[in-house]
């Protein structure tokens, strides 16, 4: 039984956190509905009635194709990265092979290296292999970055998941692949979904990589379309706000969809501690 005082405290803290995270979003919303063409930031809620801004922005920013491009790239990256991260994380966590720690160290390096430090050589390399200015020029590097984190993430799960379950599967005659797919993957579903959400958010919002890689093509992602509303000298904040909302809506939808399938307490009853 939780004390009443604790319940109230919980609500207060959660409301505070909600306010802090929703506040800016609300600001952007008011901005997006403001009168277009006005200079400066206008947070006048009474004038926030210009719903036509969204349609204008959709047209001007060419958001239709941009969101389609973003969606293709991000979906491929999420699916491929999760599929690669799970077995790799299992191998690093539970299989014994020479060079295991070296490979893991290399992967950690992939997480630590900031994109900015390697974007130029990366671009040159991709160009050398004629992989620039198409979907692959963004997908391949994004998969690379994502898998580095994904292996780290899945390894952490497999390492601390019940060792005896894995051993029971081995003794039952399962090989590594069967142990992974039939015993561990069903247990790792929440971790895999969380990973998919993280991958989606990060790669959807990625700006620098697509900007560089797609600079010589007609392709543009949603964040690239968004930036066209940020003028060099004067910015139309109403349009910028509306474009921002359009850009983040797919992320919100994906988050809500995936969050619904998170399952909790799946390990209950397996292990008697």
């Amino acid at each position: 039984m939780i004390a009443r005082r604790d319940v109230i405290l919980g609500y207060v803290l959660l409301s505070l956190a909600a306010l802090i995270s929703l506040g800016p979003l609300l600001g952007v919303m008011i901005l997006a509905l403001g009168e277009p063409g006005r200079i400066g930031i206008n947070l006048d809620i009474a004038n926030a009635t210009n719903f036509g801004n969204f349609a204008d922005v959709w047209e001007k920013g060419d958001f239709g194709p941009a969101i389609r491009t973003s969606f293709i790239i991000t979906s491929v990256v999420v699916v491929v990265s999760v599929i690669l991260s799970v077995p790799a994380g299992y191998a690093i966590a539970l299989m014994d092979f020479p060079g295991r720690s070296a490979i893991f160290a290399l992967l950690i390096l992939g997480i630590l290296m900031p994109l900015e430090s390697m974007i130029v050589p990366l671009f040159l390399d991709m160009r050398r292999f004629n992989l620039d200015n198409n979907y692959w020029s963004v997908i391949l590097p994004q998969v690379g970055f994502s898998v580095a984190f994904g292996v780290f993430w899945m390894r952490a799960f497999f390492v601390q998941s019940a060792r005896s379950l894995v051993e029971a599967a081995w003794i039952d005659g399962a090989n590594s692949w069967q142990t992974l797919t039939r015993v561990l993957v069903p247990l790792a579903r929440p971790q895999m979904l969380t990973l998919a959400v993280l991958f989606f958010v990060w790669n959807w919002n990625d700006f620098l990589l697509p900007l560089v890689m797609l600079s010589g093509s007609d392709l543009q992602t949603a964040p690239m379309a968004l930036v066209t509303f940020e003028g060099a000298r004067r910015t139309d904040f109403a349009y910028l706000g509306a474009a921002s909302i359009i850009t983040i809506i797919p992320v919100v939808i994906v988050f809500i969809l995936l969050q619904r399938s998170f399952t909790r307490g799946i390990l209950a009853g397996s292990i008697k501690e």
Partner: protein
Amino acid sequence: MSERVVFDGVSVTYPGMSAPALREVSLEVPEGELLVLVGPSGCGKSTFLRALAGLEGVSAGRILIGDRDVTRVPAKDRDVAMVFQNYALYPQMTVAQNMGFALKVAKVPKDEIKTRVGAAARLLDLEPYLDRKPGALSGGQRQRVAMGRAIVREPQAFLMDEPLSNLDAKLRVQTRAQIATLQRRLGTTMVYVTHDQVEAMTLGDRVAILKDGEIQQVDSPAAVYDRPVNAFVASFIGSPSMNLAEVDVVDAGVSLAGTTIPVDREVLAKVTSGRALLGVRPEDLDVVGSGVAITVELVEMLGADTYIYGRLSEGPLLVARVDPSIRPALGSVVHVMPSRTYLFAAEGDQSLLG
């Protein structure tokens, strides 16, 4: 098909550890035998089981199951079944799927899996629960599912890693009897690891006592109780454990707190340094009119027996298991005399009897 299990000079050293967890262990478990490995925690009994299962690599020696050398064979190909202390049931699978998993992996036809799972479930009273997940079962039921998962396989040997330690006392006694019956009925070789000497004594055809990675004695439960090879085995087997006291050798016996306890001359002749370790089981210590005087510190009444804990004028606490009609007051002095004694070397604690 049940097979014998042979350990031939097996050593296991864990990475980063200087002392081996198992030290040149040689042991044969004949086909169909139930061997209990018992010892204090860290003695290497679990390592033995894990090495046999293929979960731990060995640094020296050979392991045979039947006539097949499995020393380098991976766990999945050894055809042994193991029941884990925490049961390790697959949480996302039903009871039936848990029990049939090994058969499914081995590509046994569906009909046969169903038949074998059904038979095992009948044997273990699990039929009403076949469609439940482990999370919806009680501790005792989970334990039976773990057993069922092993039985269904019809393996060459069963490995049991403290399978009863998570059950409450009453259920433990029941399940212990079930396991013994089951093993006899199936006739499958079983290696059973426990730290509980009562389990060891009641279950085992033979008992192997381990300490510091070395086997101290392998014998029938009666023999390890009657003829322990050293003071460690003597004190480990039996409950409450054997009283041990360092004594001086005198004419025709040993002197315990001033009282001479008679000991055979042949045995006394083996004492080299003039000192020895006297062992007396609590059940061999009788309250008498005159004998070794002890000051009573604690009296435990268990119903059928009473345990008297008394201190010698100098030296250790002695435990006597006596008739419940004897109820000495705390702090009073009672006299006890052993009806049977054991004598161990003061150095190396080897038994000097027989």
